[in-house]
């Protein structure tokens, strides 16, 4: 590992502070990034509530052991944030082995999250709700629910199906962008794991763990917003 402090910085503290501020600034941009999507989502949720309520019911319907996949994912991510926090503390104390263990668990949890998401997407594909020409064929149960919702809200069946499809556009887009961020996080943490296994982190040099930990916490936080918005529309 070459020089601890990059040449543009005067000392390690400056480097650490710069890195941390940089990550917070980046997270601010991410707030606006997801915020734009969430804003669009909220507008349409308000305008098209009957159809989007149906969408939420379908999303929340996919369960493992009686618990919705969304809830599982929330639990997985919250746990992973715990392991990340423990890992950051380990890095500060120079406990590279414990840090490695926490990183491994975090990675496994992250992969589990993506696995559950993949299962959800597959299930939703089979239910025919993936939006797009030639792909969007909601199955019979869902179509029946839609017709009932159309009847009770006074809109035409066609309108309701269109609004229902729009829910899925937003669902796949928002969770997809979130999943992309998870992939990037897994990549970053794999890098951290490799460094930790080489015993790189010391009480002096632990900043990368803390900074990337911030990123992971943020991605978790975004999920905490997405989950109720998408799964719990009532």
């Amino acid at each position: 590992m070459s020089d601890l402090v990059a040449h543009q910085f005067d000392d390690l503290d400056q480097q650490t502070e710069a890195g941390t501020l940089g990550m917070w600034t980046f997270l601010a941009t991410e707030v606006l990034f997801f915020g734009g999507m969430i804003c669009g989502y909220c507008v349409y949720r308000h305008l098209y509530f009957p159809a989007w309520h149906q969408g939420s019911l379908v999303v929340d319907n996919f369960t493992f052991l009686g618990i919705s996949s969304g809830a599982w994912n929330t639990a997985v991510l919250l746990t992973s944030s715990l392991t990340v926090a423990l890992g950051v503390r380990a890095a500060k104390l120079g406990q590279n082995r414990f840090l490695s263990q926490m990183l491994v668990i975090t990675l496994l949890l992250g992969i589990a999250f993506l696995g559950i998401k993949a299962a959800e997407y597959t299930h939703e594909y089979h239910e025919g709700v993936m939006p797009g020409p030639n792909v969007f064929h909601p199955d019979m149960d869902i179509s029946a629910d839609l017709s009932r919702a159309a009847a009770s809200s006074g809109k035409s069946n066609i309108d309701l199906r269109r609004e229902f499809q729009l829910f899925w556009v937003f669902y796949f887009f928002m969770t997809g962008v979130h999943a992309l961020h998870m992939f990037i996080g897994i990549g970053l943490f794999t890098y951290l794991l490799i460094e930790a296994r080489r015993g790189c982190f010391t009480p002096k040099k632990h900043a990368p763990v803390e900074i990337m930990g911030l990123y992971w916490h943020f991605v978790d936080l975004v999920w905490i917003f997405l989950f109720p918005l998408l799964y719990l529309v009532r």
Binding site: A6, H7, Q8, F9, D10, Q14, E17, A18, L21, G22, T25, F26, A28, T29, E30, L32, F33, G35, G36, M37, C39, G40, V43, Y44, L47, Y48, P131, G132, P133, D159, R162, E163, Q165, L166, V169, F173
Partner: protein, 541 residues
């Protein structure tokens, strides 16, 4: 007795330009100064492309029903002009060129906080620009740079997705540049450089970076949704399929209005350096100018729907956004007054950069005042989407931002290249530019009030005389750009060598050599009061 080694005078000093010569040393550089030069070259290329589109458009508009280009071609030309000029010239211009070069120098740092990220920004810019040019080569885009739906999402059959991808990627270039500046300004000021000793250019870079970081992601997401709509054929913004086209406009303008402040704040920062330098006085109302930059950045986020007064929003929405739009004009006025007051009892030299700076104040004032016309609901309902709007924003963007860029480029040219530009040619070009500009764009205010709509390839015959005036002005304006291109390039070969501080200006950047060494300063400077003209001994600087 040891003999003192003889060092010949012609031994070349190491600067950032001659430290290494290979192509790889430029394309893989982490030096903010080299990256700035890379940006100067790239944005000049995009300016030429965007400018060429404008030339063809103005030629088409010489006669009311010209057949120089077909309707669809004209529509693609104004789209190209807008996309290239906004996203690939104006938004990066001063921040990525002068900002990248000067921010570390002005605060006494060796480089930006994240040099590799800085290089990545340039590559993202090039990648985005390449995608946009691919869209052009594949046949163009005809949606206008504003991509209004449902035309862009459902009806247009041109290369919209390529263009969107180009803008999307270039957006990340902006975001990372802004992030870099914010961290650098917060964390890497040299000893003695407190916040209120920062040069005003740094204040405006800081304000601009806040906008970069907060506004650009919203544009990225909005354009991504439009691309998604085109690919999937669903109705996110197309009402025929259940979407809301006004939602698109809100999301789009939420970025694009702050974007115009991205385009002007850096220019104001340059002017805030030029006026003191060429009056040899500290800026009048330094703190007020600094705070005005921040105020513009913040208030600029609150006014987006003044682009939508007749778009179908409620009257109450119109009232709110109108009053806020007037508020955002006040800090700009404060700056103009402070710049003018700085001239009072100064020692004024009308060199090329000062000519550009004074031209900026004049033209920006006109542009800004006509913005008040547009903020006035009762007038906007008449001139919205007419040539009045075009004239307004060109006064600000070209009469303002581009002139500031030219002024700054001339002022810091010796620092960047180590050469002096030819002063007489510089003044001549500045005057030609000023005259050409006014002749091009002032008639457009009249055209707009008469009712000539924007984005028209043909027009009612009674509009012809003003269109002819405008095209005539455009040829003079073009000359005003071609001249500096020639003599600035020529100065690299034939210009006189510049000393550290050829214009005897204050500022840390002038305390190092021209061009600077790779690490900017031989020793970390210690900052004192900025604009310390009262301490300078001009005869011996």
């Amino acid at each position: 007795m040891a003999s003192i080694p003889y060092i010949p005078e012609y031994q070349v000093r190491e600067t950032y330009l001659n430290a290494r010569y290979s192509i790889a040393s430029w394309l893989l550089t982490k030096d903010h100064k080299r990256i700035a030069v890379l940006y100067i070259l790239s944005i000049t290329l995009f300016f030429i492309i965007g400018g060429s589109a404008a030339v063809i458009m103005r030629l088409q508009l010489l006669t009311p029903h010209s057949s120089l280009v077909e309707a669809e071609t004209y529509n693609k030309l104004f789209t190209l002009h807008g996309i290239v000029m906004v996203f690939f010239f104006l938004v990066p211009s001063i921040p990525a060129t002068l900002g990248n070069f000067l921010v570390p120098l002005m605060i006494g740092a060796r480089d930006l906080a994240f040099p590799k990220l800085n290089l990545a920004s340039w590559y993202l810019f090039i990648l985005g620009g390449s995608l946009a040019l691919t869209a052009l080569i594949l046949g163009g885009v005809d949606t206008g740079w504003t991509f209004y739906t449902p035309y862009s999402s459902t009806f247009s059959n041109t290369n919209v997705i390529f263009a969107i991808c180009g803008v999307f990627i270039a957006g990340f270039s902006s975001i990372f540049t802004g992030l870099n500046f914010i961290v650098t300004i917060h964390k890497m000021r040299c000893p003695g450089m407190t916040w209120f000793r920062l040069p005003l250019f740094i204040w405006s870079m800081y304000a601009t970076s806040i906008i970069f970081v907060l506004a650009t992601p919203v544009l990225a997401i909005t354009l991504a949704l439009v691309a998604l709509e085109r690919i999937l054929g669903v109705g996110i913004f197309d009402p025929n399929l259940g979407g809301d086209p006004i939602l698109f406009q809100h999301l789009f303008w939420f970025y694009s209005h702050p974007a115009v402040y991205i385009m002007i704040l850096p220019g104001m920062g340059v002017i805030s350096e030029l006026i003191p330098a060429y009056s040899r006085k500290r800026p009048f109302g330094y703190a007020f100018i600094a705070m005005a930059s921040l105020a513009i950045a913040i208030l600029g986020f609150l006014v987006w729907a003044h682009h939508m007064f007749v778009a179908g929003i409620s009257i109450y929405g119109g009232l709110v956004f109108s009053i806020l739009s007037f508020l955002v004009a006040i800090p700009s006025g404060v700056k103009v007054f402070n710049w003018t007051a700085t001239l009072y009892k100064g020692s004024i030299a009308l060199d090329t950069p000062m000519l550009y700076a004074l031209g900026f104040i004049g033209l920006f004032t006109i542009g800004g005042l006509t913005g008040l016309f547009l903020a006035t609901l009762g007038i906007d309902m008449h001139v919205h989407d007419t040539y009045f709007v075009i004239a307004h924003f060109h006064y600000i963007m070209v009469g303002g931002a581009v002139m500031a860029y030219m002024g700054g480029l001339h002022f810091w040219w010796p620092k960047i290249t180590g050469k002096l530009y030819p002063e007489r040619w510089g003044r001549l070009a500045a005057v030609i530019l000023f005259i050409g500009f006014n002749l091009t764009f002032f008639p457009q205010f009249i055209l707009g009030y008469l009712g000539m709509p924007r984005r028209y390839y043909a027009y009612a015959p009674e509009f012809q005389v003003y269109n002819v005036m405008s095209t005539a002005g455009a040829t003079i304006l073009a000359l005003g750009y071609v001249l500096p291109l020639i003599y600035l390039l020529g100065s690299l070969r034939w210009g006189k060598d510049a000393g550290s501080n050829p214009f005897k200006a204050a500022g840390l950047e002038w305390q190092t050599t021209s061009p600077p060494p790779p690490d900017n300063f031989d020793q970390t400077p210690i900052a004192g009061e900025p604009y310390n003209y009262h301490e300078m001994d001009f005869a011996n600087v």
